[in-house]
Each structure stands twice: as C-alpha cells, then as structure tokens.
C-alpha cells in the first residue's frame, strides 16, 4: 500500500500526516500522531475503548476511516479533554470516585460521558447508563463511573 497525505484537526490543532488509506482513525491517532491515550480493545466496534468525539459526537475510531470525515471535522481525544492545565470536571470526579481502576476503558468512557454532559447537563442515572452502554468496563461494575459522572455534572 502507498501512504497518502491526510489532514486532520485533532484537539484543536491541525495535523497533516501520511497514512495508509485503509488505516482507521484509531490507527492514525495512535500510530501517526502518537496520541496513544485512545485505546484499542477489540478493533471490531465491540468494546468502546477507542471512543473519540467528532464534532462533539462520540464515535468508534476503530470503525472509522479518516477519509469518511469532513475536512473541517473537529476530533477530540482524551488528550484534549483538559483545558490547558485545567482538568475537565469529569477527570477530577473520576479520580475522586475511583472510577478508573485499570484505566484502559477510561479514555473512551470519558469521551462518551463528555458527549452526554455537553448535551444533557443533569442526566439521570438511567441516562448515564444508556450513554455509556457501548463502553465496556471490566473492572468497576460501573457504579463508581455513575457516581463520577453525577459528581462532574454537579461541578459544572
């Protein structure tokens, strides 16, 4: 395969990278941009670990080709969640509630939770459960994650 030039906006910054056209957004983020905060758990769209935001909407980067995205698409990864040095309320709340155990589902979970809070600032527990139902966590049993999202909602 031949690499092709690709322009992306990630976390507010413009990037041009050379990538195989069949490589997924997940691969481009991790391997070409070294944004390894976004995780792969299955690369089949089953686990949600690779969730990133495109124009604020959570998508599975393992099932997305960069070419599918519009030229002005704004991609947000976990590295772009904090605002400069200021952690996002979700990050603080996840730490306080122990909502990240092994931390591997956490970046995807945070992005799904951010998308929820951006559209629904005071979600019920059922709404939180629904919003993160595509993100598998094998450690927590989800309870601490609900508590963290609720805490972050209150803090915003």
């Amino acid at each position: 395969m031949t690499k092709e030039l690709l322009s992306l906006r990630v976390n507010g910054e413009p990037h041009t990278v050379a990538a195989e056209p069949h490589h997924t957004l997940l691969e481009v983020l991790r391997e070409e941009l070294q944004l390894t905060g976004t995780k792969h758990g299955c690369e089949l769209g089953e686990c949600g670990a690779c969730t990133v935001l495109v124009d604020g909407v959570p998508i599975l980067s393992c099932l997305t080709l960069p070419a599918q995205l519009g030229a002005n698409a704004e991609i947000t990864t976990v590295e772009g969640l904090a605002n400069g040095g200021q952690l996002h309320p979700l990050q603080t709340a996840f730490a306080q509630e122990g909502a990240a155990q092994c931390g591997y589902c956490t970046p995807g979970m945070l992005m799904a939770a951010k998308a929820l809070l951006d559209t629904n600032p005071r979600p019920s527990r059922a709404e939180i459960a629904h919003a993160i139902s595509g993100n598998l966590c094998r450690c927590t049993g989800y309870t601490a994650i609900y508590e963290a999202v609720e805490k972050a909602a209150k803090a915003r």
Binding site: K39, C42, Q96, C102, G103, Y104, S133, T140, G141, Y142
Partner: protein, 793 residues
C-alpha cells in the same frame, strides 16, 4: 502510634491522573525507533501432530525480517516448576485451536499478518479429547503422552477427621451434583509486549504481566540467556483478573526475535487471540455430600471435583488443590474429605481467574447449604451465622484462622436488604438469596520452593522532600502502586503524592512474587511498611534531638515530625530528612515480608490453602424471573466484605463492586464453550460481558476486623467478593421460581425449559452428563465437508 493520617481515607489513587489524561503508558502504547511488528501463527487443529513447518515463503516476503518456530525454543516451560508441559511455540504437536506455532517479525503489522498466510504447516490430525468424561475414559488418545491414567493431569485425595463417624452422626445427609461452566477474564486490554534487543546481547521486555519475576525466570530457561541479561518491566495492565499471570508465547517470541534482529519487536494480540490465550476459570463438575444434625450443625463434608484443565498445566496443580482447600474456613466442619481430579482436554488451557479454584466449590457448597436450610426449615442467613468457624482457630484441614468477619458480613447484608422478612415471602417470580465465602490474602507458599522473602521493597528519601519506593509488584488496576505510596506516606509522615513508585521492574525493584492470589496488599504492604519505618526511626531520632523531646513523643504526619504533646514543636519533613542524611548517610532502607511458619499443615498437599489471613464476605441477591421469556433480572446485589482495614475505602468498594459485577457475568451468561474444538464465541459480541445496561445495582459494605499481621490491619479485597455472588443469585432464583440451578450459567433458555417441563432442578446427575461430547464435532465435520463438496462441485 495515634490515628492514621492517610490510610482509611478516600483519596484519589496516585496513578489516576495518568489514566485520566491518556498519559499512562500501557505496553501497546510503547513505540521505539526501528521497531518491528510481530504476529503469531496459530493452530487450526484441536489435536494434531506437526509434520512440517515451512517458513521459507514467509521469510522471502518483502518486509519480513525474521521468523521463528517451536524448534527455536524447544525448552519446556510453564508457570509451575513441577508441571512444565508447554513450549513457547508448539514443537511436535498442537493441542488446541489457537495454539501458537510460529512467529513473524516484519516492518509493519499488515506485512506480518500477510506473512502468516505464507507459512505452511503440515498437520496429521488426531482425535480431540473434548470433555472431562472422555478425558477420563480414553486410554487410546492422549493429549499428553505421559498421563498415567487416561488424560488425568493431577489427582488429589485428602482426608481430615473421622468422616465415617461424621456421616454416622448426621441426622440428615445431602448428596448433590453441580457443574460450573468455564469462563474467561476478558480484560479490555489485550495482551501486549515490546522486547528490545540491545547491542550487548541484553534484552528488555515491557509487557502487561501480573508476574514479572516468574516471567523473568521462564525467559532465562527458554531463551538460554542468563537472568542478569534480561530485564522485565511490567507495564500497567489494562485489566488482568488472573489472565496475565502465565508466561505467554508472544513474550518469548518477542524476546527471541529482538535478540536475533537486535531491534525492538512488538506483539499485541487481537481480541480473538485473547480468547485462545485464556487461562481462565476451569469448568468443574462437583459432587458434594454433607451431613448435618437436625439443627443444621455440619458433621461431615465429602467434596469431589473434576476439573477440565484444557491443553496445558498452567496453575492447574494449585487450582485442583484450591477447589478443596478453602471449603473449611467459613463454617465449622469437623470431618472433611476432598478428592480432586484435573484432566487434559484439547481446549485452550484453563488457569487462575479471580477467586482461583475456590469460586466453583463455593457455589456448590453455598447452594447446598441453602437446600439444607430449606430441608430443615431454617432461615438460611441465620443458619449460616450459627455455624461459623470461630476467629483465632484452626480448621480441620489445619489452616490457621485469625480475624474472621463473616458473621458481621452476614448481619450487615441481612439488615441492608431486610433479608429474613423477604425470604420465601416475595411474590411469585421475585426472589432473594444469600451466600457467604472467604478468600486468601496471598498464598502461603511461593510457586517455586525457596526460603526467600515473598515480597521486598526499598524506600529512599531524596533531598527535596520526595520519597521513592521500589517494589516488584505489578499494577493491574487493583491499585497496588497507590497502596505502596499510601503505606509509605503513612509510615514516613508525608503525602502519597510525595511518593514516586517504581514497580514491576526486575532490574530496579526488589522481588515481589506478583499480583496473584490477592497477596500484594498484605505482603508488599508489609514489606514497604517495614522499609519505611526503618527510615522513620532514623528521622524520629534526629527530630527528637533537635526538638529536645523524648523520641517516644515524636509523631509524623502531613510532612511534619512533631511533639505529640505540643504539635507546634515540629520540623518539616525536608529539614528532618536533611538532618538525618547528615547524621546517618544516604537515606535508603529495605523491607521484606514472608508469611509466618505454622499457618498450615505438614501433609502432602498442605502447601495450597494456608494464608497469613483470610478475607470473608457475604452477598444478598434480589432477583426477578420473567416466566414468559425466561429472563433473569438481578435487581440488586449487596455484598459485605471483611478486608481487615480499608486502607482506601473508595478502592476497597471498587474491588467489591467489580468482583460482584464479574460474578454476576459468570452466573448470567458468560461461558467459554466450544463446538468440536472450536471456540464458539471468541469475540466480545458473542462472549457477552455485562454492559452498563445489564449490570444490577451494586452495593458494597466494608466490614473491618483490623488484622494484627496485616499492614496497618489490611487484608485482601480483590478476589473474595466475587465468590458469594454466584450462589446468592442461584439461591435467589430458587426463591423466585422454585427451581434449583445446580449448574452455571443460568440462562433464559434453561429457565424456560425448566418451567415448561416443570423441573425443580437443572444440573448434572452424575459424572457422565449423558451428552455425547463428539456429537457437535461430527456435525461440524459434516457441515464442513458439505461446504467443501459444494465449493469443489
């Protein structure tokens, strides 16, 4: 010592911030210059002789740098030194579909993947052994040629007390058969490693392992490279649960390819491969006979287990013993007999999953106790409370019990759920069930025989108020790095964020045996506490002198050494450390921990079961069964856990909830099952782990018993709380619909079938399940042939 300043508080884990910002470096996040990408070729056969492996076309493929096969690493290996029956890559035989046969390193992953299809493996298929019954009966087909009887890997027979008299004195005796289906860990991070071959012949391996020290030993053996030239660094594990505690093919292959190419080589398994790596929960068939007096006092227990071990040993010898070892630590058992058999089958090897070997018998025992309570007309919660094994006692199989909080656990879950009022009084389709359980706070013996410490730690103080702790523990998400930082901070009077943790690195840190058997808080915690207290004594001596206060009056907390009678008299930690370094020289100390002698028996097989302390737990499950659809909904799981002292209550609750979640998954539907040797569900779509929408409300209750030997009183929290959940749900299902589920998982199909046929019980009736284990294989072969015929026509 007065009150604790750090421990006992809900504090964010020191390593949380890296997890939450994407800065944590898991193995697959490591990229090194000139790095090659590796892939494993896996067996397509369940059981076959390897006639020939031809890698010439793969080697000639552009972009392929090196290929290795089993012949390159023929040395036998395995986690348990006494049962090493594996090779890094298959040598002359394959024993399960998915067994690694060859490994490729290429310039990129796509090329490595292409190269696999260019390797020609000639197999001579052999009949596969696919069930416990077949494995026992077939003398003509051997998974491993050296099995003495059929395909038996290990046979254990232990007897304690007067069993005959016990059963003779029983007013009521129950005989029940159970089957616990196998299942797997399914961590969200798949196995991954990077090995770097250095110019001087050294190799460094970054890998998501739970056992860097044991892996270090096996790498030396298989690679023939002295351990002094190998460095293993355990990366943060993205979940493990026991599934990353064996040495794996990809780790050996990465090291050998790195040594040969003098380049870094990365292997990351894909999701399907994780199901073949497995080492998960053994399927176990069980027979349990328990005698009781008319008021329920146990007079004797005879437990028999048959474990389906899969193709290799893994931890199987320990698993076999564990199915029998811990049944005695919860309730008084005056006479006990245990017979265990583990067999080889042509399936991915089973090993340790959270609760290692104790989960299956605990399910059987607690389900049977529920039946006994029912037979005798007793409240199952109050009944359990009445027959507790006492604290500070010895069990019939010679296990030393110290702190024992099961009674309080039962009381707390009973109160929280109003159990006794609801039990047998809920409307049809609604049910409530209870179960108790226990687990070890670390195995009493190491995996290889030695007299050295189980855990070592060093602590050093720098000149700016910082502290560094070095310990060989592996951070697998259970919070061990935070535990090390918190105990160090408590002992030295600093804050956890002042402590830099270097863990899981065989070159930098003293040996810790690894993150298995829930041993880390107890053992590494004691080691690091001892090291830190040595330094604290030096600092306190200097502080006492400089403050003009007797040393007994010096306390430390919040970065101060102070006079506890006049806390305004203090020195800062940084100042007192500088004065101590001037006085004593470089501030560094080592600590270590080894379990005390005499905590177990001296009979053959006494090595499995003893632990410096046992954790205890109880669970109440509330369920709803839809009689139309067969769907079992678990409405609520309340789990109480005796963790000694909760060093960080938020983390302990997280372990309790996570354990309850995992147990729930095992009873509701998770199963590692096969169709003619082929895994039926090697993906997360088919192997369904509970999502947020599936998971019941989980409530965690911490019970503290402050263990005298635990670090600041702590015991384990990571595994035990899984065990009571499964029988509690099964017992609740009986309360709801009057059907005993003596096998897992409890699926809608089984519930509907039982209701339609008016069964009062679902489960095995003997060792032979009555099902033809080869039927599915024949169907599979027939459909494959038909497809091939159609294709060729």
């Amino acid at each position: 010592m007065s009150e604790l300043s750090i421990l006992g508080q809900r504090r964010p884990k020191v390593n949380s911030w890296a997890h939450l910002t994407g800065q944590a470096k898991y193995a697959d996040d490591i990229v090194l210059p000139r790095m090659l990408y590796g892939r494993l070729l896996r067996s397509t056969q369940a059981h076959a002789r390897i006639k020939k492996v031809d890698v010439s076309r793969a080697l000639a493929h552009p972009g392929v740098v090196a290929v290795v096969t089993g012949a390159d690493m023929p040395e036998k290996m395995g986690i348990m030194p006494s049962t090493q029956d594996e090779t890094a890559l298959a040598v002359d035989k394959v024993r399960y579909v998915g067994e690694p046969v060859a490994a490729v390193a290429a310039l990129d992953e796509d090329t490595a993947f292409e190269a696999l299809s260019l390797i020609r493996v000639e197999y001579e298929p052999l009949e596969p052994i696919l069930s416990i019954e077949e494995a026992l009966a077939r003398e003509d087909v051997k998974v491993h040629e050296d099995s003495k009887r059929g395909n038996v890997f290990k046979e254990v027979h232990l007897s304690f007390g007067d069993l005959e008299a016990g059963f003779a004195n029983a007013d009521h005796t129950r005989d029940d058969w159970f089957f616990f289906e196998g299942n797997t860990h399914a961590p969200i991070e798949s196995h991954s490693c990077v090995a770097n071959g250095e110019a001087n012949g050294n190799v460094t391996l970054w890998t998501c392992t739970q056992v860097p020290h044991y892996l270090h030993r096996e790498l030396e053996k298989v690679l023939g490279v002295p351990r002094a030239r190998i460095r293993v660094i355990a990366t943060p594990n993205g979940g493990a649960f026991g599934g990353k505690s064996d040495p794996f093919a990809h780790e050996f292959a990465a090291c050998l390819l790195a040594l040969r190419t003098k380049r870094p080589v990365k292997f990351t398994l894909d999701r399907e491969e994780v199901f073949y790596a497995h080492r998960g929960r053994h399927p176990v068939k069980m027979h349990l006979r328990t005698g009781v007096t008319k008021d329920g006092e146990i007079t004797a227990v005879h437990f028999q287990s048959w474990l389906d071990g899969g193709a290799y040993a893994s931890y199987g010898i320990a698993t076999t013993y564990y199915t029998g070892a811990l049944l005695t630590v919860t309730y008084r058992v005056p006479a006990y007999k245990f017979d265990g058999v583990r067999v080889y089958t042509n399936k991915p090897p089973c090993g340790p999953k959270r609760g290692h070997g104790t989960t299956q018998p605990r399910y059987a025992f607690e389900a049977q106790l529920d039946k006994i309570a029912d037979d005798l007309g007793l409240d199952p919660l109050a009944y359990r409370h009445r027959i507790l094994q006492p604290a500070n006692s010895r069990t019939v199989n010679d296990l030393r019990i110290t702190t024992m909080g099961l009674g309080e656990c039962l009381e707390r879950v009973g109160q929280r759920t109003d159990f006794s009022a609801k039990h047998r009084n809920l409307p049809p389709g609604k049910g409530i069930g209870v179960a108790g359980s226990a687990y070890i706070s670390g195995a009493g013996l190491p995996i290889y025989w030695n007299e050295m410490p189980h855990s070592g730690a060093t602590v050093k103080i720098d000149r700016g108020g910082g502290v560094t702790v070095y310990c060989g523990t592996a951070e697998i998400g259970q919070g061990s790095d935070n535990m090390l930082a918190s105990i160090t901070a408590e002992a030295l009077g600093v804050m956890p964020e002042d402590v830099h943790v270097v863990s899981g690195d065989t070159s930098l840190a003293p040996v810790d045996l690894g993150s298995y058997s829930s041993r880390v808080t107890f053992m590494a915690g004691n080691a690091v506490k001892q090291a830190a207290l040595k330094l604290r004594d030096q600092l306190a001596e200097v502080a006492a002198e400089q403050l003009g206060v007797p040393i007994e009056q010096i306390l430390c907390a919040y970065r101060r050494y102070y006079d506890h009678e006049d806390p305004d008299k203090f020195m800062s930690f940084t100042d007192v450390a500088a004065a101590a370094e001037a006085r004593f020289g470089t501030l560094s100390a080592a600590g270590w921990y080894k379990p005390p002698k005499g905590i177990g028996g001296t009979f053959k097989g006494a090595g499995v079961g003893p632990s410096p302390a046992y954790s205890y737990q109880a669970c109440v499950a509330e369920v709803t069964v839809d009689r139309e659809t067969g769907v079992l909904t678990v409405d609520r799981l309340v789990t109480a856990h005796d963790c000694g002292r909760a060093l960080n209550p938020a983390n302990v609750e997280g372990q309790i909830e996570g354990s309850a979640y995992m147990g729930y998954g095992e009873v509701i539907g998770e199963e590692q099952v096969f169709r003619g040797g082929l895994h039926k569900k090697p993906s997360l779509l088919d192997y369904k782990i509970p999502t947020s929408l599936d998971t019941p409300a989980l409530e965690a209750i911490i019970v503290e018993t402050v263990d005298a030997e635990g670090p600041y009183g702590g015991k384990e929290a990571g595994e035990g709380p899984l065990n009571p959940v499964i029988p509690a749900i099964a017992n609740a299902v009986f309360d709801a619909i009057g059907v005993r589920f003596d096998e897992t998982p409890i699926t809608p199909e089984k519930i509907l079938d039982a209701l339609a046929k008016k069964k009062d019980r679902v489960g095995p009736t003997g060792l032979d399940g009555g099902r033809d284990p080869k039927a599915s294989l024949r169907r599979l072969n027939a459909s494959t042939k038909a497809r091939e015929k159609k294709r060729d026509a």
